[in-house]
């Protein structure tokens, strides 16, 4: 492939690629994101290749492994174009049937289609409720391109924005466009990207650096990973445009070592981009030079903080430094360095292509455009969703997410990763917006959204996130290190039923100081999960401390499993399943849990047949009297004994 030397070359190449592609030719796309990989999508893809060969359809049907489609709950996903027939949870064994029925006979395999609440089968991917309510502007191309083939990206108009920026716009115009679009940083802070770019551009000192922050380390969050895995060129294109606007010639992608597929696809993309002339010296013949280095992070959550990330790129331990002088002015090796999140960079080509007016027409007053969320936890449709800013949490969780599984009641949603807050039910109609989320004590953060239901204990949840942060704080500054340590100790003792009166107030006191005195954003936001749970779920804390009761039945020290004598049918199931042999009894003998042996794993509750429902979880109450000697024999009681 010869280097492209002008915008015309790029357009010619695009036409050539499109000329060789028949839009009506069937194409089987298999989602190959990390989640689908876990479901053996690679075997499915191989089965398709084999099956198509066996039927001699190589010339008639294309097979494409794409990036993450987002509907991870139902993977591996297979979408057959041009009709967009969407099959869910496809196993390698299903492939011969799909090939013969859909590819050859042009009929549907009904059992693999999505079935909605009314029992209706849905054929097209875009008609599935999960997708229907989304607007997938940034993430949507993931399902159309093979991340390892730059041609796929170019065919969809890829690198068009770069050509437009380089040949039709001055750097100032690009900067102005992004500023007018009011694009806010998608990594957590929500700082306007255009203003940050301008700061770096105007800061004295050369060289200037631009950086992609792909150090996504929050539990349950994976959209940056999926972007890099599924559509790395969109990120590189945005980065190059930003570099042009800022006047930078060296970029970095700081990506976690734990994301092997992202690193692999990114490196492939970089090589292809260099080969085509989208990176390197004299990009597209414009005279602009820019190249990108990949820096693999060693897996510290705190390295996602900009100054820590830059310290890590310098080759030192990723610890934050005071930022009274912004990294945009003094970053890597003291040079002006502009850092943005993966999603922020991937949004840039859209803004250049379609203009700031179009971008600002989406979203709310303070937050423009769309945001990608990892919708996880107690929600029916787990996956990655992209919605316009301003959508309410209710729409996101119930319309797209399909509500809470097993008819349970919604309790709260944690947004913004471990240092975000938990938003209770009363704020479900809150529009998703940087400012609105901050107002209720949480934050947009990197787009994590963990849904919790009535079986989640809020004290335990706060404890979990604090425990995560205890290990992920760098430990440099005193308030964060010692504050987390003491807060975690207090939460541990509350969960263990040893909470003391005044603990809630003490948590609040420490929180305030940690928030006000910590060095970096990690420390300053550490108290969020604690403060928000105390604010909205104070009754749960009080139940733990005063009544030694865990209302959600989660905290092991405060719950007891108990078999109700009247309901036990002596079926022996729990007795066999108990992993520690804590249940005594026998045929026709009421089963009894030995509380000294019980490890509270809950296996007995899970296996007790629902029609008996004899095992219950008690919290905060006295255990009923044990069965009297001699009365443990069951006689003439329902079920098979009758």
């Amino acid at each position: 492939m010869p280097r492209l030397n002008s915008a015309t070359d790029l357009e010619r190449l695009r036409q050539e690629i499109l000329a060789h592609r028949d839009p009506n030719k069937p194409c089987v796309t298999i989602c190959s994101g990390t989640a689908c990989h876990a479901y053996a999508c690679e075997e499915v893809a191989e089965a398709f290749v084999k099956e198509i060969e066996r039927n001699g359809l190589q010339k008639e049907v294309d097979v494409r492994r794409t990036g993450c489609h987002g509907f991870c709950e139902r993977g591996p996903l297979v979408v057959i174009f041009p009709e967009e027939i969407c099959y869910l949870r496809v196993k390698p064994e299903d492939v011969p049937e799909i090939a013969s029925t859909t590819l050859i006979e042009k009929k549907l395999v009904d059992r693999l289609l999505y079935v909605d609440d009314s029992g209706q089968r849905i054929v097209r991917e875009g008609d599935i409720p999960f997708y229907k309510h989304q607007s997938r502007l940034v993430f949507g191309n993931n399902r159309l391109v093979d991340p390892k083939r730059i041609d796929d990206y170019i065919a969809l108009g890829g690198y068009n924005a770069l050509a437009k920026a380089l040949f039709e716009m001055t750097p100032e115009q690009v900067l102005d466009e992004v500023k007018r679009a009011n694009l806010r940083g998608r990594g957590g802070g929500g700082f306007p990207a255009g203003i940050k770019w301008e700061t770096t551009r105007n800061a004295p000192g050369e060289p200037k650096y631009v950086i992609v922050n792909a150090d996504e380390g929050d539990p349950g969050v994976y959209q940056d990973r999926s972007m890099l895995e599924g559509n790395p060129h969109s990120v590189l294109e945005g980065l190059t445009i930003g570099a042009y606007a800022i006047g930078s010639h060296q970029g970095f992608v700081y990506v976690r070592q734990e994301y092997p597929l992202a690193v692999e696809n990114l490196n492939v993309a970089l090589e292809q981009a260099r080969e085509y002339g989208f990176l390197g010296a004299n990009i597209l013949g414009s005279g602009f030079d820019f190249d990108v280095k990949v820096h693999r992070g060693a897996g510290a959550f705190v390295s996602g903080e900009s100054s820590a990330l830059m310290t890590a790129i310098e080759g030192r331990v990723g610890e934050p430094r005071p930022k009274y002088i912004r990294t945009a002015v003094s970053g890597i090796w003291g040079k002006p360095s502009n850092l943005n999140n993966v999603k922020t960079w991937a949004t840039v080509p859209l803004i250049i292509n379609r203009g700031a007016e179009w971008f600002t027409s989406i979203g709310t007053e303070g937050s423009k455009g769309t945001m990608i969320f990892s919708l996880v936890g107690k929600v029916n449709n787990t996956g990655l969703v992209e919605v316009p800013m301003g959508m309410t949490l209710r729409e996101l969780i119930f319309d797209i997410g399909g509500g809470i599984p097993h008819g349970k009641r919604f309790k709260g949603v944690q947004t913004g990763g471990p240092s975000g807050g938990i938003i209770p039910e009363k704020f479900l109609d809150l529009p998703i917006d940087f400012n609105e989320l901050t107002k209720v004590g949480s934050m947009m953060g990197s787009g994590g959204m963990i849904v919790m239901d009535e079986t989640n204990c809020m004290v335990d949840t706060a404890r979990y996130f604090l425990n995560f942060l205890a290990g992920e704080s760098c430990g440099k500054c005193l308030p964060c290190r010692e504050g987390i340590y003491q807060m975690l100790k207090i939460l541990n003792r509350i969960c263990a039923g040893k909470g003391r009166r005044g603990d809630i107030e003490l948590l609040g006191e420490i929180s305030e100081v940690v928030r006000d005195a910590s060095l970096c954003a990690l420390g300053q936001t550490v108290p969020n999960p604690v403060l928000s749970t105390i604010k909205y779920f104070r009754d749960e804390y009080e139940a733990h401390i005063e009544e030694k009761r865990c209302p959600a039945g989660v905290c092991k020290a405060l719950i007891t499993y108990y078999i109700e004598q009247e309901k036990c049918q002596a079926c022996m199931i729990c007795l066999r399943e108990c992993p520690v042999g804590a249940i005594t009894g026998g045929k026709n003998l009421i089963h009894i849990i030995d509380q000294d042996k019980c490890t509270k794993c809950g296996a007995c509750l899970e296996v007790c047949p629902p029609r008996f429902g004899a095992v219950t979880k008690l919290s905060g109450m006295k255990l009923p009297e044990p069965v009297r000697q001699g009365t443990e024999v069951i006689r003439n009681r329902g079920g098979r004994n009758e």
């Binding site: 705190v302 205890a470 290990g471 704080s473 430990g475 440099k476 100081v513 910590s518 060095l519 092991k556």
Partner: protein, 226 residues
């Protein structure tokens, strides 16, 4: 270098541009408590005890005075109410960690702290990092460094370098505000420096991961082993 005038505790102070608030305050004899600051070392901003309140216009902010550089017309309050509140809490937190360290006790007296509401787990190191930074910045040897992250952070001599460098230097001993560094080094070198050796304070106060097993995403506590 040009001069700026700022107000520290109602006192007009002239300072050179680029100076930190802490340096400007010290130059006129205003004492701001700090654990991690040393004039020979680069500003670090870790102990946060030197937090002060700055006012510009109507906005007030809390900043670490050892890293925040002076600005013209800046108003600084080194002992305002929110500042004292932070220092008291930080000292209490440190009291729980290192109740026997003199510098903590001295500051404790100043701010009326003579006990802590937290459980005391005595440790000798206050993690100010003076030794680590002195070795790296002044001596350029890196014979001592931090290991561990977050609440498990510790200071440790690196045997390969320490074996070579420390016997002829030992300058960090005097910089350590706790005074236990020499004994730690002495102990570390006895059995010919093995990597498995742990500093003696670790044996006194094990700071293990204090959380228990639980998984909030499933809402269940599961037993791993039977």
């Amino acid at each position: 270098m040009s001069e700026v005038t700022l107000t520290i505790n109602d006192e007009k102070v002239k300072a050179k541009e680029g100076m930190t608030i802490l340096e400007a305050a010290q130059s006129v004899g205003i004492d701001i408590p700090t654990l991690c600051h040393h004039e020979k070392l680069a500003p670090y901003g870790a102990c946060r005890l030197c937090t002060v309140e700055i006012v510009r216009g109507k906005r007030s902010r809390l900043v670490a005075s050892c890293v925040y550089t002076v600005e013209d017309a800046l108003i600084v309050k080194t002992e305002s109410e929110p500042v004292i509140k932070i220092r008291k809490m930080l000292l209490e937190l440190m009291w729980a960690r290192a109740p026997g360290v003199q510098v903590i006790r001295d500051y404790g007296i100043k701010y009326g702290i003579d006990r802590t509401k937290f459980d005391v787990e005595p440790n000798f190191c206050i993690l100010c990092g003076l030794c680590v930074r002195y070795c790296a910045e002044v001596k350029k040897k890196n014979a001592i460094g931090f290991i561990g992250r977050g609440t498990e952070r510790e200071v440790m001599f690196f045997p390969e370098i320490a074996n070579e460098e420390c016997p002829k230097c030992g300058e960090c001993y005097s910089i350590c505000p706790t005074g236990v560094l020499p004994s730690n080094y002495a102990l570390a070198r006895v059995p010919h420096f093995t990597w498995t050796l742990t500093p003696f304070w670790q044996n006194l106060s094990p700071r293990k991961n204090i959380a228990t097993e639980s998984n909030p995403s499933t809402g269940r506590n599961r037993v791993k082993d039977t």
